[in-house]
């Protein structure tokens, strides 16, 4: 693979924008990324887009085609990637492969999503199909997505002695950091008491410990090292981009399943563990060396178990780091210096590019009060329905 840089990023504020079509959000972020890169639309030689789940795409997930039809029908290859909440990062992986392999020198990666209100339900009008476990879980058990995160978190409390106070402190940190991010949707600071007094949603998870859903969009321009010499910019390099899927025997109880076949030899949330380990291996970076992490905090519990399962810290160590406020941007292991999903809300397929934009701004030293001082490397991670995992490592 050739060396590939992210030369431009664009990100729409996260929130609810009922009067703004998704395609407008997408064209805005592509424009921002092109301006950031000092490039023009006609220089793009390939497009990778995340197929949005809830909006646009002509009902076929053709987000990339819609962008090209709106911004310029230049005849370039377009790849629309469907992998649920990992789609933004998986589209990034496709763009990285296009440029890294030499298939093209400049690729656009773009993703956007407009979400329905409230926690994600079963698709209204979906067939009563008893061969579909998603139907079974909703109809016969009634378990919503936070129910899965709650069970995983309750299990961690049993295994490591994690307490409701740890979970609350994770939420307090996320909101305190997110309040400093101008693009975040939720910019309110909470105390531990506020979090513990927020309504219990799925024991042991409370409302402020679970991410909401938002509208959002992001874009990035990837460029080969050869081409980059011709333009003036401050590149951030793609140290690695890895994609994986879940393994048989994974003990994680994941959305939307109603059973598991747990085997002790298989890693917990294997799709993510495999992708992240591969990302570290390819980048030639030791997990403990990473300067900060942007991870998918659907709930406060994710922030505790994930870094441990990737070898960034030891099993149970995240609780200690949280107790000592060491996961803030100025701590030993900064986690989600963007404010994370807790502060932004989840725009499902766009989340991978939200992380890329946040990671690039940090590595350029443009993150203002949330800046991780001297950051040279970061890990970005997403997890999508169907057992889709991604890991991206950026460096400067």
């Amino acid at each position: 693979m050739r060396e590939v840089a992210v030369v431009g990023v664009g990100m729409h504020p996260w929130g609810k924008f009922p009067d703004k079509p998704l395609i407008q959000m997408l064209t805005e972020v592509v424009d921002m990324a092109l301006k950031d890169a000092g490039m023009e639309w006609k220089e793009i030689e390939g497009i990778a887009a995340a197929s949005s789940r809830f909006s646009g795409g002509m009902g076929w997930g053709l987000a990339g085609n819609e962008v090209a039809q709106t911004m310029g029908r230049s005849g370039v290859p377009i790849y629309n990637v469907s992998s649920a909440c990992a789609a933004g990062a998986n589209a990034f992986n496709v763009a990285h492969t296009l440029v890294g392999s030499g298939a093209c020198d400049v690729a656009l990666v773009v993703a956007g999503e407009k979400m329905p209100k409230g926690f994600i339900p079963r698709t209204p009008g979906a067939a009563e199909d008893r061969s579909d476990v998603d139907y079974i879980r909703w109809k016969a058990i009634g378990i919503p997505n936070p129910g899965y995160w709650a069970m995983e978190t309750r299990r961690r409390m049993e295994d490591f002695g994690t307490t409701e106070l740890h979970l609350a402190k994770v939420a307090v940190k996320a909101h305190k950091v997110g309040a400093e991010n101008p693009l975040a949707r939720y910019r309110q600071v909470f105390t531990v008491e506020d979090v513990l007094n927020s309504p219990m949603v799925n024991y042991p998870l409370r409302l402020y410990e679970i991410c909401a859903v938002s509208d959002g969009a992001g874009a990035a321009i990837l460029c080969s090292k050869e081409k980059i010499r011709q333009i003036s910019t401050s590149p951030v390099w793609v140290a690695s981009s890895a994609v994986a899927t879940m393994q048989f025997g994974d003990p994680q109880f994941r959305i939307p399943e109603v059973s598991t076949n747990p085997m002790p030899s298989v890693p917990f949330t294997s799709e993510v563990t495999l992708a992240v380990r591969k990302a570290f291996e390819t980048a030639g970076i030791e997990p403990k060396e990473i300067d900060f992490v942007e991870l998918q905090d659907n709930c406060a519990g994710h922030e505790l178990f994930m870094p441990e399962s990737w070898g960034i810290c030891e099993p149970g160590e995240c609780d200690r780091l949280v107790e000592q406020d060491q996961t803030y941007p100025n701590g030993k292991l900064p986690i989600n210096p963007s404010g994370g999903f807790a502060s932004f809300g989840e725009a499902t397929t766009a989340m991978g590019l939200f992380q890329v934009a946040q990671g690039v701004w940090q590595l350029r030293g443009e993150a203002g009060p949330r800046q991780v001082e001297g950051a040279k490397t970061c890990l970005l991670q997403t997890l999508g329905l169907g057992g889709n995992g991604s890991g991206i490592i950026l460096k400067r």
Partner: protein, 142 residues
């Protein structure tokens, strides 16, 4: 199973037997590699398994609670939540066949639920419809 005179029908066909004394979950067993699955499947998903010979299998009614949650808000359709809504427990239960199955718990107090506790499968009312009692499987502490 609570006594009732209403005709009982399953919330979804084919997931469990309607045996009033000892209802059982209906799954699959791969006779090649020995893996059990729930619900029934037409193919073994173990990537190491070559022959993938699947047959119907009933699962044990007793197991251990791997983890649990308590559902504090009414799940959206197609679930038919009780009105007024009463929070209920949901758990994942490790069965002796090395398959873990999720289900509603009859206990909804998180302080009374313990990871590792023994639970047993029962059938219980999900809702009533057209004069019939629609039942689903639940796990109850033993």
């Amino acid at each position: 199973m609570k006594k009732t005179n209403l005709e009982r029908i399953p919330v979804i066909e084919g997931l469990f037997t309607l045996d009033p004394e000892e209802p059982k979950l209906i799954g699959s067993k791969c006779t090649s590699c020995g893996t059990y699955f729930f619900p029934e499947t037409n193919c073994c998903s173990n990537p190491e398994c070559k022959d993938k010979k699947i047959e119907q299998a009933f699962l044990s009614r007793r197991g251990k609670l791997w983890s649990y949650t308590v559902q504090y808000y009414p799940p959206p359709p197609p679930f038919r939540a009780q009105e007024p809504f009463v929070p209920f427990g949901i758990g994942l239960v490790e069965l002796p066949e090395k398959v873990s199955v999720a289900g509603i718990l009859t206990e909804s107090d998180p302080e009374k639920l313990k990871i590792g506790m023994d639970v047993e499968l029962i059938l219980d009312k999900a809702y009533e419809e057209n004069g019939k009692e629609v039942v689903t499987w639940k796990f109850t502490p033993v």
